[in-house]
């Protein structure tokens, strides 16, 4: 900030520019008030909470299974990662593990979700900067992912794919074929995207050196995910504390050096490639077996049993009416969602409803650094920075 101050000797009157809560670059509902000196941002004040829906309070009033749909609507660009994160937390609380086949399916779902999230983030970030073409090119592949999701779980966006102790449906051959096709088609599309953006002079100038953030600052602010990696730290929970058997897959964790918007873009692009790599390994090695554990106290029985046997009917009714009984205690379970560390802190008092459920959203701490990050930049850069942080209001406010 001081450097720019030195360059510009002429001071103008402070001007206040209001962005949001309904503004095209806020992708949702954020409220940013910028204080300008000419076109330079002197101070910024952010105001959030316009999409606060009381998810945590609702969670206290629902059974453990009934909270799964709420997790969809938190980070709605990659709902499936939230589903996986939540059910892993409940499974940890129960002390169970989903069967091997379900774990691989969850990995497949997670990586597809990650790609879908990065597509939105990169596409929209490019649109905000003025490159509409990249958005149209890359969004086609998001539709392909949606097709896969709707075959996997019947919904495009709000997936609710996982259940406590497994996943809701098995993959059929047609879906596996679709995923194989996608894996064939997508890497050339990433190249195409890179051809449009990476060496694009305008994009480069608009993003290089913008929103630079040092690693110390990033850690102070609790950054996780692509933004932290762009600042130069190789930190990925999939590598550092593997869950769902991520230790069995070969992949690399990309890092940046300067932590600016351009680095964040590069990290996201590389992560998409790595996700394709994981998917290729996963799709070839899906073990046989059930997709949900066979415990009538936790998992719903198969539909044939519900219709034909009295035991099946009773356990179905018990589970729907009462829910899963979870031992008293509290846990924190974190997964690497597309945006960073998604944690669930659940306090159970032994009932079928959680006593307290806390979601640790990845972009809440990231967005809290926005005020500091935009200082000294131009107004147009604030837009680029906001896009690169990938703020999802549903997750930010919950």
């Amino acid at each position: 900030m001081t450097d720019i101050k030195k360059e510009i000797d002429i001071k103008t009157d402070r001007m206040i520019v209001n962005m949001g809560p309904s503004h095209p670059v806020t992708h949702g509902t954020l409220h940013i008030v910028l204080e300008l000196d000419g076109e330079t941002i002197v101070a910024s004040h952010t105001n959030i909470g316009y999409l606060h829906r009381g998810v945590e309070k609702l969670g206290e009033n629902r059974t453990y299974q009934k909270f799964i749909p709420f997790t969809d609507r938190m980070n709605y660009t990659s709902s499936i990662n939230n589903n996986v994160g939540y059910t892993l937390a409940v499974e940890k609380l129960l002390g169970i593990q989903s069967p091997p086949r379900a774990q691989v399916l969850e990995v497949i779902a997670c990586e597809l979700g990650r790609i879908a999230d990065h597509i939105v983030c990169i596409g929209i970030n490019a649109v905000d900067i003025g490159a509409f073409t990249a958005f149209l090119y890359i969004f086609k592949y998001r539709e392909l992912i949606y097709d896969i999701f709707s075959r996997m779980c019947g919904a495009r966006l709000t997936t609710s794919y996982t259940r406590i102790g497994g996943v809701s449906r098995d993959l059929d051959d047609e879906t596996i074929r679709l995923i194989r096709d996608f894996l064939k088609e997508f890497p050339p599309a990433i190249d195409e995207l890179e051809a449009l953006l990476t060496k694009n002079r305008i994009f480069y100038d608009r993003t290089r050196g913008i929103g630079e953030f040092t690693l110390e600052n990033a850690i102070q602010y609790g950054y996780t995910g692509p933004c932290l990696r762009a600042a130069g730290l190789e930190w990925d929970l999939r590598k550092k504390m593997p869950y769902l058997g991520y230790e069995n897959y070969e992949f690399e964790v990309p890092t940046g050096t300067r932590g600016d918007v351009y680095d964040r873009y590069l990290v996201r692009v590389e992560e998409m490639r790595q996700s394709v790599r994981i998917l290729k390994q996963a799709i070839e090695n899906i073990p046989e077996g059930p997709v949900i554990i066979e415990d009538p106290k936790i998992a719903l029985p198969p539909k044939e049993d519900v219709y034909n046997t009295i035991e099946g009917l009773i356990s179905h009714m018990k589970l729907i009416m009462e829910g899963v009984r979870v031992p008293a205690g509290e846990i924190y379970c974190a997964t690497e969602a597309a945006n960073g560390e998604l944690g669930f802190y659940i306090v159970s008092d032994g009932e079928t409803k959680p006593y307290r459920i806390r979601v640790r959203p990845p972009c809440f701490p990231i967005f809290s650094s926005f005020d500091e990050q935009v200082q000294g930049h131009m107004v147009a850069d604030a837009v680029a920075i906001l896009g690169s942080l990938n703020i999802i209001a549903g997750e930010l406010d919950r």
């Binding site: 309070k57 609790g222 924190y332 809440f364």
Partner: protein, 154 residues
């Protein structure tokens, strides 16, 4: 982890209680809430460089009805630590740790908004999720899910 517990007991002595919960999760209970800033500084200087999460839980039945939960992360070696601080009173007040961790700024605002716990020396202690003149603290147990007033922010 043992090292950290050793360090904390050396520093705080009786003020620390180590609890092992479900699935071998370790919690550290800091009995004296006024020493939270010291504890955070100590942890920060000893490897726990990141404050991952800060939240609270409301236990209306207990004598100390609020419990702050500081979720810390050490990167090298990888350790997670949940530090709990019980608080007394209807509208308790504790020291803000936003000078130790910048990220605590918003987390503390959120806890203030949702639970009504005040933080001393916080740079900007205002409601963050609800609007400013909203009454009540939604995540308290006595607060009804539907809310107790139907008026909009205007």
């Amino acid at each position: 982890m043992k090292q950290t517990i050793g360090l904390l007991t050396k520093y705080f002595g009786e003020g620390i209680e180590v609890q092992t919960g479900l699935r071998d999760e370790t919690f550290i209970l800091l009995k004296d809430a006024s020493r939270i800033k010291e504890a955070m500084e100590l942890l920060r200087d000893n490897g726990f460089s990141m404050l991952i999460d800060l939240t609270a839980v409301h236990y209306p039945g207990r004598e100390k009805q609020f419990e702050l939960v500081y979720n810390m992360l050490a990167m090298e070696p990888l350790l997670r630590l949940l530090l709990k601080v019980p608080l007394e009173g209807e509208y308790p007040e504790v020291d803000s740790v936003s000078s130790v961790f910048k990220t605590a700024n918003w987390y503390e605002r959120e806890v203030f908004d949702m639970f009504g716990i005040r933080f001393k020396d916080h740079p900007n202690l205002k409601r963050i999720l609800m609007w400013e003149d909203y009454e009540g603290h939604p995540l308290r147990k006595e607060f009804p899910l539907e809310g107790d007033n139907l008026h909009c922010y205007d």
